[in-house]
Amino acid sequence: MNELPQQLANGLALGALYGLIAIGYTMVYGIVQLINFAHGEIFMIGGFGALTTYLALPSGTSLMVVIPLMIIGGAIASVAVATAAERFAYRPLRGAPRLAPLITAIGLSIVLQQLVWGFYPDAKKPRSFPEFQGESFKIFDNLYLQRADAFTLVLAPLCMLALGMFVAKSRSGRAMQATAQDPDTAKLMGINTDRIIVMAFAIGAAFAAIAAVAYGLDKGQINFEMGFLLGLKAFTAAVLGGIGNIYGAMVGGVVLGLAEALSIAYIEEIPGMQQLGGGAWANVWAFVLLIVVLLVRPQGLLGERVADRA
């Protein structure tokens, strides 16, 4: 049986998830040149916000009603934490050397993890999350699409489309582009750059909450550590696609997801490479790809070459 279609579907679903999280890295970096390493934890908090919403709803409510509410609940939690982090942790350091906010972000990431670990009920072990009931969709004999994957694959492009429209067409979106290009001039033109920066954090956090719900529905569980590794992968996706470019984040995510899935499935079938295949080496191959791409295109797949802003 040819498992290629199935592995492509796996990679695509995983990649779409990376892409949704990567938006948060790329938006914030595009505007304030800050790598927000706490974004993985914002994703995790989105998951716990959604779980709290789910537990607050009467049991037996249809998933069609529950899921939108969970996304809203998760987004409220993640946006609140992200904007608070921006206001109290990053804004005071706006003029400081680049390393200061970077270290702050790493510290914040540890603090957020420990807070959830310590104070969310039973969060020391994985908490179960609602799942789609029923069998996966059979598309071909060798291609089954799981319900949660289908959910991610429908939702991610819709979110991207909405974000693209917002940035290109709306007043705030254009103000965002202006701030990204030149914050000082944008300020002179009467744009409230502080508000724009908060907006970038909030949009990233909302996307992270959507990703967290998709993740929970797929895996059936969430835990306080889940943001670390996924955040790192999403950051990689953002760099791969060209950090600062929102479509690049999604493209980078999908490429990374496909690279992982295909390397798990096929590297070991290449004669002589048996030892270098499988799940153990998936991350290695994903990063080999990243290095190769960055050697050829240092700005990432969709990134634009920009003169270094001093």
């Binding site: 072990k125 179960s128 059936g220 590794l229 899935a261 499935a265 799940g279 153990a280 991350n283």
Partner: protein
């Protein structure tokens, strides 16, 4: 353990000697374990130590105890290398620390026992083996694979996962297309639970089996997907099922201890009792008094200890491992672990 000392004192097991417990916590950190070991060694009155829980911590403590000639009995370390040296897998077992003993069976026994159950009792012939690349998981998976193939089964594929990762869908699909009728996972419950889930979601209705690392309620509860039919092995018999444990359970309840005795309670009791028996033998030999070199004598006497403990017959082989190789296979039934087979392992 505390109970063992109290019982010994009450029964006047060794006339003229009163047993005291000094409890130290290692928080599962090797460095703390080493500090604790040094502290115990420094206390001249300490004749034996019970613990630790984790194999990694044990590694840091063994050397300290050996230098001081202080007997150490662990109720829970399952890593074979602790007693048989790093080359145990190549048939070159040699005792590393003469002061190290344990009352629970090792991973070697556990991996082989799992293979025998899966092949002989569950009638599975084609297994897919996955591990998490850690000492415990990879070791267990290797032992299992060797025994499963020796029995005549076929390992149709192997893969590895990374600890703390959560997406194993690609590995799960490889399992499905390999045509395996079962999966063996060497590792801990967080990844094991997700792997079992994702394999079942591909539509492959096959059981996942693992060692005591996945024998945890969270393996089942952390995910909504039904895990009925999955297996895990763990050391010992369920304490409640042992006829020899009746007295222990009664005493434990009467003792008013806060925590349940759990999986290792019986082994801890026996570990403590083994030290008490060794002290008894030493004192008896020395006209009812503790000799000058009590520690060395106790360690020597440990090798000859033999009694009927909570978990069955307690004695140690030439490596300091228990000769009592009782294991239990648990199966997930209606969302809970249920023991399906308890037996004494035979090679």
């Amino acid at each position: 353990m505390d109970l063992a000392a109290k019982t010994a004192n009450k029964n006047n097991e060794v006339p003229g000697i009163e047993f005291k417990i000094e409890a130290l916590d290692d928080q599962a950190v090797p460095a703390s374990g080493q500090a604790n070991a040094a502290k115990l060694v420094g206390n001249k009155e300490v004749l034996g130590a019970v613990g630790p829980l984790n194999s990694g911590v044990a590694q840091s403590m063994q050397g300290v105890f050996e230098k001081a000639n202080l007997a150490q009995v662990s109720p829970a370390n399952t890593n074979p290398a602790l007693s048989q040296g790093d080359n145990w897998g190549k048939g070159d077992s040699k005792r590393v620390f003469k002061t190290y003993f344990r009352t629970c069976a090792t991973d070697v026994v556990q991996g082989k026992f799992a293979a025998q159950y899966l092949y002989n009792d569950a009638k599975k012939k084609k297994v897919y083996v996955v591990d998490d690349k850690q000492t415990y998981g990879a070791g267990l998976a290797a032992i299992f694979s060797a025994e499963f193939e020796r029995l005549g089964g076929k390992v149709v594929g192997t893969d590895h996962v990374t600890v703390k990762e959560t997406d194993f869908s690609s590995t799960a699909d490889k399992v499905k297309s390999s045509g395996a009728d079962s999966v063996y996972y060497g590792g801990q419950y967080p990844e094991g639970g997700l792997l079992s889930d994702q394999i079942k979601k591909t539509g492959a209705k096959i059981p996942t089996m693992g060692g005591d690392g996945i024998y945890d309620p969270a393996f089942i509860s952390a995910s909504g997907e039904a895990k009925d039919g999955d297996f895990a092995t763990s050391v010992g018999y369920p304490v409640e099922a042992l006829p020899t444990a009746k007295q222990f359970i009664a005493d434990y309840t009467a003792g008013g201890y806060k925590d349940p005795f759990a999986a290792y309670g019986g082994y801890s009791y026996d570990a403590g009792w083994a030290i008490i028996q060794a002290v008894k033998a030493v004192v008896a030999e020395n006209d009812g008094k503790l000799p000058e070199d009590a520690r060395a004598k106790v360690t020597e006497a440990m090798a000859k200890v033999s009694f009927d403990g909570v978990t069955g017959k307690v004695s140690f082989d030439e490596f300091g491992d228990t000769t009592n190789k009782q294991l239990t296979v648990y199966e997930v039934q209606k969302g809970a672990w249920k023991d399906v087979k308890s037996a004494t392992f035979e090679d």
